[in-house]
Every structure is written in C-alpha cells, then in structure tokens.
Assembly symmetry: C2
Homo-oligomer: 367 residues x 2
C-alpha cells in the first residue's frame, strides 16, 4: 500500500493505494472518521459484490452499516436520485456523525459527495473509486454534484472526502475500454505538469496496459499527487490556476456533445481533444512537432483514439464545434480560454486563438 | 445607517442596518459583489412591492436583474421549491458570477442561501431580511437549507452571504404579532450574553414596541454583534460553543411540534421555552427567582406568552414533551443537553438534568 496526503488545511485527507490486507480498510476507515455513528455505503450496482465484501470488512456485525445501490450511468446524477438518497438518509436516521462511503466511478463519487455536503449541513464521506478514471481524477479536487437535464454539473458543492481508498483489485473486473479511457487523464498529467512522468509512461506502457499492480499503483499515485498540487493552489477554482487541468477538455467536451454522449467514453473524447489542442499549439508555433508526435503515439499505444471516426465526422462542422466549445463552462464572457502545451510538462492559457487555426486543428483530427 | 462586520476570515461580510438613502443599496451591493454578471432577486410573495422597489434601485435598466416570487410559509423550504429555483437559475442562464438576493424572512433566506451554495458549486448571495426575526437571527450564522416532509432543516449547507442589508423600513408593514415574536430572540441574546443589553431592553421597552427607528436599529445591531461573536468562535457548530444560541430552543421546538406548527410563532414558542428553561435553572439552584422574574416580565411586556394556553395544555403530557425534546437535533446520544442561565448575561450547558425537575418546569408553564 502507498499513501499520499492531500494538503488542504483542515480539509486535508489521505489517499491509500494498493491491494489491502484483510482488515486494513476497516481500520483505516475508523481512523479517518472517528466517532462515526453509522456507515451508509452507496455503490454503483455494477460493483455490488465488491461493495458487500467491503461492508463485511468494515463492520462484521452489520448493525451500523447499510448498503444502498444506485443504477450505473450519468443519468443517476439527477435531482430525482438526489431526492431518493436524501429520503434514504432520513429513513436510516442518519445524523451528523454518520459517514457516507461512495463505491463506484465518477458518477457515484459526485452524487454521494453532494449528498454528504448537504446532509445536516455536511457529513463526512469516504471515496472508494473503482474505475481508473475516478481514481486519477475525482479522488482529488472535492468537486461534487449532479446534472439538470439540459446542463451537466450545474448543481454541486466543493466537499472534500475524509479518506480515499483506492483498492487496485477493483480494477480486475473493469472492462478494457474503460481502463484505457482512464489512461487519457494519466497522459494529460504528464503533458501538463511532469515530463519525467510522461517518459515513464512511455517506458512502461506495456506493464501499464497489462495492469501490472505495481505499475498501476505508481500511475495512480503520481496522477493524484500532481492533481493535488494544482488543487492545493486553487481549491475553489477562483485563481484560474486550476484551469490547466482542463487541457484537452474544452475540445473534448464539445466532442462528447456533438458525437452524442455515450459514443465516446470521457477519456476517449479527451484524447482527441488533447490532439486538437496539440495541433493548435503546433500551428501557433508554441509547440514542436516531435512533442506532439510523442503525445499522439503514447495515446495511440494506450489504444485511445486521436481522430474523430469517419462515420460521424459530418457532425463536426466548424460552426457546431465552435458553438459547443463556447458553451463550455471554462469560457469567460464569450472568449475561449484554451490550455495549450509549450513543451511536454508545461502548459499555458491562451485567450482568443485565431478562429481559422482552431478550425484547422479540428479538421486535422477529422475522419 | 449603522454597519457591523461579521468576521469569518475570507468569508467575512458587512451588515448594514437602517433606512437607506435613495441609491445606497445599489452602491453597496455593487461594492460587496464585484464583477457581478446578473442579479436574481428571490422574494417572499408578501414583500413583492418592496422587492420590486429594490430591484429598480439596484438596476434601473432592468436588463441584468430578475425577480422570482416564492409563496410565503415554511412549506416553501421543500425539495420541489429547490428544484424549481434550480431550473429557474438555468433558464436565466445564471453563471458563476451571478448573484442571488434573498428578500423575505427566514424561510426565504434559508432557501435562497441553499440555492446559492449549490449553484455552480457556490455563487454569492445577499440577504435582505424583512422580518425582525430574520434580521436578528438568520442574518448571522450562515445556516441555509430546506426541510424533508418529516424533518426540518436536515438538508442544507453552511454558506455565508456577501452582504446583509437590513432596511428597517421593511418592518413598517410587518404584522405586530410577528414583530413581537422577533423580540423573543432579542431578549435571548441579553439573557445568554449581555446583561447591559438586557437592561437597555427593559429601559427602552416602549420605544422598541413603538418600532422607533433608532431603537430598532440598535437592537438589531447589538443582536447581530452578539450572535456574530458566537458564530466566529464556532462557525460550523463543531466545538459546541454555538450551542448557547439554543437557549429556550429545545423546549421551544418541542412546544412548536406538540402545539402543531403554526399555533405559535417561532418566537412565541421560544419565549415559553426560555421560561421553562428558567424555571428548571431556578429549581436546580443555578439561577435566582429575581432574575427569572426579570426575564418573565420583559417577555410579557413585549406581549410574548410565557405559558402554554389552557386550551391546548392537554397535549403537553410529560411523555410527549420528553419524546419531542429528545428528537431535537441538539441532543447527543439520547442525552438532553440543555442551555440554562446562571445569571442574566451568562448560560451554561447542563447534561442529564433530573427528569422530575424538567417535568416540574414544564408543568409550571402549563395552562
């Protein structure tokens, strides 16, 4: 097991990563949430067995622990599901000392974290991410929330967990495509912040693809460390520093929208988005062709797309892409703020890049 | 105009109290929320005219300002109303720089504050309390939230306003019974924290009852100052210090429940609750009969009840009162924590007061 501390003053918390011994989770949980009156585990239906196993580890007597299942998929981040969980909390007589445990991917973490932030004006919660994407992305940052039918993540709160428990064994049953999708965010951390980490991803690509336990633990740990540095400097996204985490995401979110949600997994869209951003940086003379090539090659080696599939290319007109990008929450007063690399390990914010160069970068990744 | 600063580190904010000059509110609002993109005023339907007048003062061109009306009464603190306001925010294209303004009593402040805390993971909000109770109670403390049908305030967040604007002119149309109800909390601050303030309430009772502008400004200011001291020492209700604000409330909440919500206004129930707490303190030998008499006389002078009305006394059996009191959120592990005075200006927490003395204190205020 490896441990990493996320430093946020009174809201600091540890992330434990690896394959735990028999009762390790139970012990660490009780350490992280003293005076806990009751534990309510909310899990994705797809990891019911893993959740039940953990429940037994945490509370062998099962009196003070409850399991609540939530349907898989983004549609569970809804007002209806939120209301259902609030009512469940009431029926379980959850109080201020109760602790929520979220077991699942990003959807479960966002939803359960938001319930925790709003129950009795805030109770403690523990995150147990079971997808690679959730391990390297939503483990750090404190963003919680739900969607309205027409707008993602417009409702939510910043609420930090008391503990994040990454049991790499939970990846054993993760479908390959989902695992690879998570790797896109891992590559992102290398490009935006850490050239040495990027090189280690190149060097150890086959171990990583083979889900070698040691390799997985290392990439999760380093990704969380890098994200934690950024978040510590801008916890509530007020200074703009946190925006660098958005590399590839303004293009990526537009791709998710135009391809229709579900066509691409999040990491796949981000992979294409990073390629578009890289192309734009190249044409602006901010980046070298060889750096862009390294990025493209690594993404491809991880089985990630770097171009839009020809079958749906017709949906990606310049106008449609620009509209979708301008709707992205990261724009400000109608001006695109794009994160572009200047070398591997370093990015900068570029405002008002020339429209025709943005369009060229999109075209270069079409079909 | 008098100004008071509530000190909570980065979350500090001013409270302005008095009758403003023509454009004063607009100027102060723009100072308190720089870079505001859009203003959404949510007001109680009963103060629609006052809200519309303020809207004109804030934004004479009316392009960037919107008025949303909410039905009066506790039932508006519901999941349905919350969902409706979230959808309104979306339809108004509210973004991170938008500002919510709550105009109304405690219900509106709690509801709108909670919407502010959850929209885009937190936007700024301004409180314009229009009842005396809201001015002296919910102006300070940062408690926001809604009810579930079976449980009050179980959903919510701590979220501080950017500015509180107390326009004493808004009291002109407040019904007398509601005004008097607010005075119960004012008396409470004197009993728990400030003997000199209590004495000034005795001395100036007729000015206060006559809603003399100067007297009202003074009692609102001093009440907010006293509450702000307590909240600054225990912002999130974690150290127990904040519990002293609960004087009279454990009895009072039980009275509200048993009498059926609506029979007594909040302050009326608290007035009886303070009398019960005072009786108990007396029988425990913690307080003097003359201090209790001063409290009872001042409450009575303000037209507040200090006994349960005979017509409903039969609902207040010992068992029913104890059950309702033990359900109060301020109890811990089934043990009553009562705030009892030791002299005017000072209270202490008493755990496990003898049951028969509690029952005697209840009986002493019956019929």
């Amino acid at each position: 097991m490896q441990t990493l501390q996320v430093s946020l003053d009174a809201r600091s918390y540890p992330i434990h990563i690896g394959r735990p011994e028999a009762n390790e989770f139970g012990h660490m949980l009780r350490d992280a949430v003293p005076k806990c009156s009751k534990i309510i585990i909310v899990h994705d239906e797809s990891v019911a067995r893993f959740a039940a196993r953990n429940a037994m580890v945490i509370a062998p007597d099962s009196r003070s622990i409850h399991l609540v299942s939530v349907a898989s998929g983004e549609t569970s981040k809804s007002v209806e599901q939120l209301d259902r969980l609030w009512k469940t909390m009431l029926s379980l007589k959850a109080d201020r000392q109760s602790v929520l445990v979220a077991i699942g991917g990003g959807v479960i973490g966002d939803l359960v974290g938001f319930v925790a932030s709003t129950w009795n004006r805030g109770v403690r919660f523990v995150q147990v991410p079971t997808t690679l994407l959730a391990m390297v992305d939503s483990s750090v940052g404190g963003k919680t929330g739900i969607n309205l039918p027409e707008a993602k993540n417009v409702i939510g709160a910043f609420w930090q967990p008391s503990l994040v428990w990454v049991d790499t064994a939970s990846l054993d049953s993760l479908p390959d495509r989902e695992y690879r999708s998570g790797l896109a965010e891992v590559v992102k951390y290398g490009v935006i912040l850490d050239e040495a980490f990027f090189r280690s991803l190149e060097d150890r690509a086959s171990d990583i693809l083979g889900r070698d336990d040691f390799a997985v633990t290392e990439i999760v740990k380093r990704s969380c460390e890098l994200k934690a540095q950024v978040v510590a400097a801008d916890e509530r996204e007020t200074t703009g520093l946190r925006a660098i985490l958005n590399y590839g995401h303004t293009f990526g979110h537009a791709i998710e929208t135009l391809a229709e949600y579900g066509t691409y997994l999040h990491g796949e869209a981000i992979s294409i988005g990073m390629t578009m951003a890289g192309m734009l940086a190249l044409s602006l003379g901010r980046w070298t062709a060889s750096d862009l090539e390294r990025q493209t090659e690594l993404l491809a080696r991880f089985g990630l797309p770097t171009r839009i599939a020809p079958a749906i290319a017709s949906r990606f007109s310049h106008a449609a892409m620009m509209d979708a990008m301008l709707l992205d929450k990261k724009t400000s007063h109608g001006r695109l703020h794009l994160i572009l690399p200047s070398r591997i390990g370093h990015v900068e914010t570029v405002v008002d890049a020339p429209l025709e160069l943005i369009e060229d970068a999109i075209d270069a990744c079409l079909g």
